[in-house]
């Protein structure tokens, strides 16, 4: 953690996974790699927690899974966003922006009388 990596904030994994999948359908390992790359190596997804999250999002109907050939011609389970997932992504993004903006404002606030 001291090496420049950061844990994902609780509740943000869903948002990030949905965002990654909105770019293109991807398998579990690829999702983890994509998150690492897109965050400039800041986020290291705990690989073991990715699959339960994917399972949960499948159950909620945000993503669907199908088996396909991967780039290296192996069978892999690809996840893709559903319409409900797109809507969820929009909501979650708004929510995040509201929250992170509020957090930012608090952090940037100058003490009165300073």
């Amino acid at each position: 953690m001291g090496d420049g990596h950061a844990e994902l904030l609780p509740g943000t994994l869903d948002l990030i996974v949905l965002r990654v999948l909105s770019l293109e359908p991807m398998h579990g390992w690829g999702i983890g790699e994509r998150i690492r790359l897109l965050s400039d190596d800041v986020f290291e997804v705990n690989q073991g927690s990715l699959y339960p999250a994917l399972q949960r999002m499948r159950r909620k109907g945000w993503i669907r899974a199908e088996w396909r050939r991967s780039e290296n011609n192996r069978r892999a389970r690809y996840y893709a966003l559903t319409t409900a997932g797109e809507a969820r992504l929009g909501d979650a993004r708004d929510e995040w922006r509201r929250t992170s903006g509020a957090v930012e404002r608090i952090l940037g606030a100058v003490p009165e009388g300073a």
């Binding site: 398998h27 390992w29 790699e33 690989q47 927690s49 699959y51 399972q55 159950r59 290296n72």
Partner: protein
Amino acid sequence: MGREWWHRFAALFGLRREEADLDEEIRFHLEMEAGKLEAEGRSPGDARREALRRFGGVERMKERTRDERGTRLLEDTVRDVLYTLRTLRRDPAFAVVAVLTLSLGVGATTAMYTLVDGVLLRPLPYPAAHELVSIRERTAEGGTLATSYLNFMDWRTASDRIAAMAAHTPTRPTTVLTPSGGVRARITSVTRDFFQVGGVEPIRGRIPDPGEHAEGGPAVAVVSERFWRSTLGEQGPQGLSLDIAGTVHDVVGVMPGGFELPGRPDVWVALDRAVPWSARGNHVVEVLGRLAPGATVDEADRELDAVQAAIRAGAPEVDSPSVAARPYLDAVVGDARRALTLLLAAAALLLLVACTNLASTLLARGFGRVRELGMRASLGAGRGRLVRQLFLESLTLALAGGMGGVLTASGLLALTRAFDPGAVPRLAEVSLDPGVLGFTLLVAVGTAVAFGLMPALALTRGDLASALRSGRSGHGRGVRRIWRAILAGEVALAVLLLVAGGLVARDLVAILDRPGGFRTAGVVTAQMELPAGKYASVAEALQVVDGILDGVRAGGGVEAVGLTLTLPVPGRGSVAGPVQMDDGTRTDRSFEYRVADAGYFRTLEVPLIRGRMFEPSDGPGAPHAALVDEAMAEALWPGLDPVGQTFNPRGMDPFPDQALTVVGVVGETLRWDRAPGGSPGYYVHYRQRPTFLGLFGMSVVAAVDDTGAGAAHLRETVRRVDRDVPVRLGTLEADIAGSASDRRFRAFVLSGFALAALLLACVGVYGVVAYTAARHTRDMGIRLALGASRSQVRSGVQADVLTTVGIGMAVGSVLAYTLARALERLLFVVSPWDPVAFSLALGALGAAAWCASWVPAWRGTRLSPARVLTEE
């Protein structure tokens, strides 16, 4: 095996696919990660290890993914069921014992409940059967009597509460001449309105019309469906006729199978056409009535009491002061109610024994698995999960036991039907039905809930982790107390059943062994009814009888032959009534009226005590001779010489003008259902008072050697003399044993239950000791190592459980002693507090418990101390 099952099961729910997909997905992930690491320059092995490390716990991740599927409960249940099956498979002895135990308890209870339900609770197959009442006369002593025909006529006229009343004679066997020859048929005479009271329509033809009931009207008969199909070949019924007692009866109707009185008659004829009784003292008919709308049985009873009182005021010879009306179902079921209720109670006791046994077995097993449970708890299984697991295990056992119980019950019912005790009326109507099946399942599942959950809760209440550390339950003392209580309870219940079984069985043995005052060994009997219509005169019929007696006497292997009206066998309807003394008064007591010849006494070896035997000179022209038995001599002429005394059995036979002169005194013949002196009686000679014609059947008795030729000869002879006389052959021993068949049935069932309870108690004791021995292996090892002898250690283990058994036996004895009164009316000879039965029960149980505790204790001490101590 377990894995294969898991897959098979999971596939049902689509879970197998999910699992495979997850596996493949993870494999793919790890390969990709390893590939990336290899590309970064790591060796393949190193890359793979690092990939796994980064993934962080494949199994934990799988578990969490499964959690997210939302099918967790279902999966867990399936997993638990499989786990249950696997653990049960691992310990088949436990599973088999538990299931058999329950099958036995549930089966016995279900069979008994089915019998009780079918016989006692289900209404009779008559319309509005609850309106039907049986009415009898009540004696001053409180007993009941068959009704006098004349009293019945008065009741019928006077009663408002009873809308319709009818009477019938007891069913009696007789020979009926059909177009195809003579057959034995059971016949009853009924008054007008009889069929209307029953409310059942004939399936063919019609019931007799009023003209056919009128005195001197045309003779008609109605036959049962069974008789019509089997004997009459389903002909007619129009144009069919039967010769009954010399009168040709036209068959007018066929009654359906359900319409059967106690006694299952084949033929109904009209009683009012020719009423043979003129005295109010002749108690000969059974009365049934249908209540008026809105009337109750109690109202009818009170009203008839008043009617009877009024009749008595006008006719002082009426001997019973009141009337007993009761629901007809009660009359049909009769004594069977008490016996069946008792058997049901016994079955319920057996079920309780089975359940306590299951509970203690589950407890023992649960303790044996403390380590396993502690392990599972520390691996993260919650308390709820463990309770559910244990509960599921007992539920599985209970369901298996329930199914086994249904099988056992059908087996027992089939057995009962094959046994056909005759003691169970309406047995043919009884079958397992869905309601009873529901009852069974309720019992089985209730057992699982009550007794499966208790050990589960007791086991998981404590700190399982500490149990794991110490290798034993952290709260052993409390649970052991529960366990002791369960075992003591089981033993107490077993004592109850053993005492009951022992009492009834001993009573049966005593009945069959009880001296009757006559010879039974080697006596063959032939019961027959001479068809009166065949013979032009009494003399001609007597010739036939003499022909039979002479023919039998001439046969090889026949030592003696005689004739009687009724055999000294319970249930073979005896005829009794008061007799008239010389001064014209009638006796208060009834005396049995018996017809015989001198050969009867020789054959049965009934001793002549005073005076002389019947002699050839006692013919139709001579004064009518009588032999009285000791009980009658004592009752009528105490301290006097009975020989030469005279009396008149007026009303008992059609010879009212012929008094009887006592020529001798003979020994009393006892029936097992009567106390000595309880059935005093007298014998008249068949040639002087030939009452057997038409009215009653007769029996030829012959003492034969054991070649078997005598019996065959008897049948041959009767056939040769008159082919229209059907004969029922038997032996006196079998007849008497058969008369106790309902008792035998009860003894059979109760001792079966008792043995089952004994067995179950042994299993319970064995389980407890085996468990204790296993638990204390270490202590035993130490004691052995310290120099205690094996037998000392063994008795130490045994003593603990045998003390508990002793307490159970003490409690059971007190209970049995208190409850024995319930058996009083079912026992004839043996007292319900019979010390022999109690000692036998306690002795058997004590010995069995000792053996059951010795075996596992012995096994426990056989281990080498060194091995035990190093193993721990």
